[in-house]
Subunit: 336 residues, 2 copies
DNA sequence: GTGAAAGCGCTAACAG
DNA sequence: CTGTTAGCGCTTTCAC
C-alpha cells in the first residue's frame, strides 16, 4: 500500500491533521515542524491521493479540451496548436483531457464533479447541445473558435469573415475578377463566415458572382482536390480560387497541377488557416492566419481564473486574423 | 448539491447500500427493486461521484497519453493520429489525458492513484527516465513508437530502419548514386534508425557515401529548408535526398524550388511518415507510411486488457512500414 | 435480498 | 500552534 498522511503522522509523532496542514503550507504550523514533516514526507516518497482530496474538496483537477469532432473537419494542425496552447498554461496540477464531443454516447460522465472546467473548441453548431448541457450543469466553460448563439458563455473567436474578406480583396486588387470559392464543411459556422467574407469582398468591389463558381468541400485534402477538379471542367473557369482552408488549398493545387496547369501562373489559389506547412509548400500559400494557439492560451488563462476566482465574464472576444501574402497569387492585367 | 445514492435511497425507501448494489447491477438484488431504483436514479438525474468511487475502488479512470515533448519534433499529424487511435478504443468511462513529458516539472503527480494506465509515445531516449519511473511505480504502461532498451515493457514500434532502407533502395533502383540524407532531431531513436536504414541501403548496393552529404535537421519544416540550402551549396551536389520525415521534405523541396531547381526533374526528394498532406502536395511525395493510428489503437487495446485482466505481456511488436511511391523521384540513367 | 457499520485518504470546523 | 472529531460519497464485509 502506498504511504498516507497517517503513516507520516506516526513517524513524525504528530496528528495526521498537522501533517495535512504542513504539506499544504498552512501558516498555522510551526515552521520547524513543517520542515520536519516535509522532510519525512519526501523521504517516504509520499504522494497525495488525489481521489481523496477531490472528494473532500469537490474538485477533480480535470480540465476538458473538447473538439466538435475528432474524425473529420478537424485538421491536425488545429488540434496540435490548441493542445499546445492550453498545455502551456495549465499548471502541473491539472489534467488536460482531450476528446471529440461526438465520441460521447452520453454526456452523463461530464459533470462538475469530473471536470473543474471545460474548453470547447467549437467548429460546428452540432455541439450546441453540449454547450447548453455544460451551461446547465454550471460547469465553468469557455468556448473557442465559434461564436455561440445567445452569447451566454465566455467566447473567444477569430474574425473569420474579415479574414476571408481580406484575402479575397487581395485577389481582386491583383486584378482577378473571376474568383471561385471552395467552401468548407456544411453546417460549420466557419464555413458560413468565410463564405460571407468572400461575398462581401465581391460585392464591395462590384465583382460579379459567376454561376458554378461555388463548390462545396469539407475541409480535407480530398474534398479540395475533388472540388477543384469540378471547377476545372468549367468552360470559362476562374482565374483565382479562394479555398476555405489550407488543406483544401493543397488539394486544389494538386488538382490544378495534375490538370497540366500551374499555380499561380495559370490559376491563383489562396487558403485560410495558415497551417504549419503552408509557408513551406511550393508555391508557398497566400492565406489567412488564425491565432489558434494564442486563442487557446488566452482561453485557458480565462478558464483558470474563472475556476479559481469565480469571476465569470460572459463576453465575446474577437481575435484578429492576418493576411499572409506568399507566392500563390499572380497579378493579372485583364479583368473580365 | 448534487444527488447522491442516499437521496435515492430515501426516495426508494431502501438503504443506500441497496441503491449502490442496484446501480452496479449486483446479482444479489431483486430484479424488481433494481428496476425501480434505476428508474428513480434516472428521474433524479443521478450521476455517480467518480472521486468517491475512485477513492474506494482505487481506480482513477484516467489514462495518460504522453509524448516525449509537445514543443518540437512532434509533428501535428503524429499527435493527431495518436489521439484519434487511442480515443477510438477507450470506453466512455476513461479520460484520456494528453501531455508532453517535458511539461512535467516533477513526475510526482503521475502515479497509480492518478492514472490507471499510461501510453507513452516515445520519440527520444530523453523519456527513458520517465519510463523507468512508471515501471518502478508499477503503473500499467505501454510504450509506442520507440524500442525501449532492456525490453521490460510492452512495446509497439514501427520498423523505421527497414522503412528507410526501402525508400533509399527505391532511389538507388531508379539510378541514383549521389544520395544525401537530412537527419532528424539529435537524440531521437528514430533519427538513428532511419540513418541506419539509409546506410544499410547504400552499403548493400555498394553506393559510396559522399562527404558532406549528411545534414542534420530536427524534424521541422525550417530545419529541412536550412539543411537543403546547405546541400545546395555543394559543388557536386546530390541527385536525390532522403529526408528523415515529411515535414523536412517539404522544407527541402521549398529550398530547391527557391534555388531555381525543380523536383524531381533536377533533384529527387523522398520523406518518411506519410503525413496527411504528403499525397496532396506538388509533387506528391514518395515516402514511407508509419501506421501510427493503428499502433495507437493496438496499444490502447493492450493497455485496457492489461488494466482490466492484469495480463502483462512484456514483448516488442514490430509494425510494418510501407513504401508509398508517388511523384517526387526521377529515374536517371547516369550514375556517378 | 437487504441493511448496519466500517473505512478508503483527505480537509475543515472546533476546541484547546 | 496542535489535536479531536466529523464527514465528503461510495463500496464492502458481515449479519440477519
Amino acid at each position: 500500500m502506498s504511504v498516507t498522511i497517517k503513516d507520516i503522522a506516526k513517524l513524525a509523532g504528530v496528528s495526521h491533521t498537522t501533517v495535512s496542514r504542513a504539506l499544504n503550507d498552512s501558516p498555522l504550523i510551526n515552521p520547524e515542524t513543517k520542515e520536519r514533516i516535509k522532510a519525512i514526507a519526501g523521504s517516504m516518497n509520499y504522494t497525495p491521493n488525489y481521489s481523496a482530496r477531490s472528494l473532500v474538496l469537490d474538485r477533480s483537477y480535470n480540465l476538458g479540451l473538447f473538439f466538435s469532432t475528432l474524425h473529420s473537419g478537424t485538421s491536425a494542425g488545429f488540434l496540435y496548436e490548441a493542445i499546445k496552447g492550453v498545455n502551456d498554461v495549465i499548471k502541473d496540477q491539472y489534467n488536460l483531457i482531450v476528446r471529440g464531443i461526438d465520441d460521447y454516447k452520453s454526456y452523463h460522465n461530464v459533470n462538475r464533479k469530473s471536470f473543474d472546467g471545460l474548453i470547447v473548441m467549437s467548429q460546428s453548431r452540432s455541439d450546441q447541445s453540449f454547450i447548453e448541457y455544460a451551461t446547465d450543469k454550471e460547469i465553468p466553460l469557455i468556448v473557442l473558435n465559434r461564436q455561440v448563439d445567445g452569447n451566454r458563455v465566455m467566447n473567444l473567436v477569430p474574425d473569420d469573415q474579415s479574414g476571408a474578406f481580406k484575402v479575397v480583396e487581395h485577389l481582386i486588387v491583383h486584378g482577378h475578377r473571376r474568383i471561385a470559392i471552395i467552401e468548407g464543411k456544411t453546417g460549420f459556422k466557419s464555413t458560413q463566415a468565410r463564405r460571407d467574407g468572400y461575398l462581401q469582398a465581391l460585392s464591395r468591389y462590384g465583382v460579379a458572382i459567376q454561376d458554378g463558381f461555388a463548390e462545396r468541400g469539407d475541409y480535407d485534402f480530398e474534398s479540395g482536390y475533388a472540388a477543384m477538379s469540378r471547377l476545372l471542367k468549367l468552360e470559362d473557369g476562374p482565374t483565382a480560387v479562394f479555398c476555405s482552408n489550407d488543406d483544401m488549398a493543397v488539394g486544389a493545387i494538386k488538382a490544378i497541377t495534375n490538370h497540366g496547369l500551374r499555380v499561380p501562373e495559370d490559376i491563383s489559389v489562396v487558403g485560410f488557416d495558415d497551417d504549419l506547412f503552408s509557408g513551406f509548400m511550393t508555391p508557398a500559400l497566400t492565406t489567412v492566419r488564425r491565432p489558434i494557439e494564442e486563442m487557446s492560451r488566452a482561453g485557458a488563462v480565462k478558464l483558470l481564473s474563472f475556476i479559481e476566482k469565480k469571476e465569470v465574464e460572459r463576453s465575446t472576444v474577437f481575435f484578429n486574423t492576418e493576411l499572409v501574402v506568399r507566392d500563390s497569387v499572380q497579378t493579372i492585367s485583364g479583368g473580365q
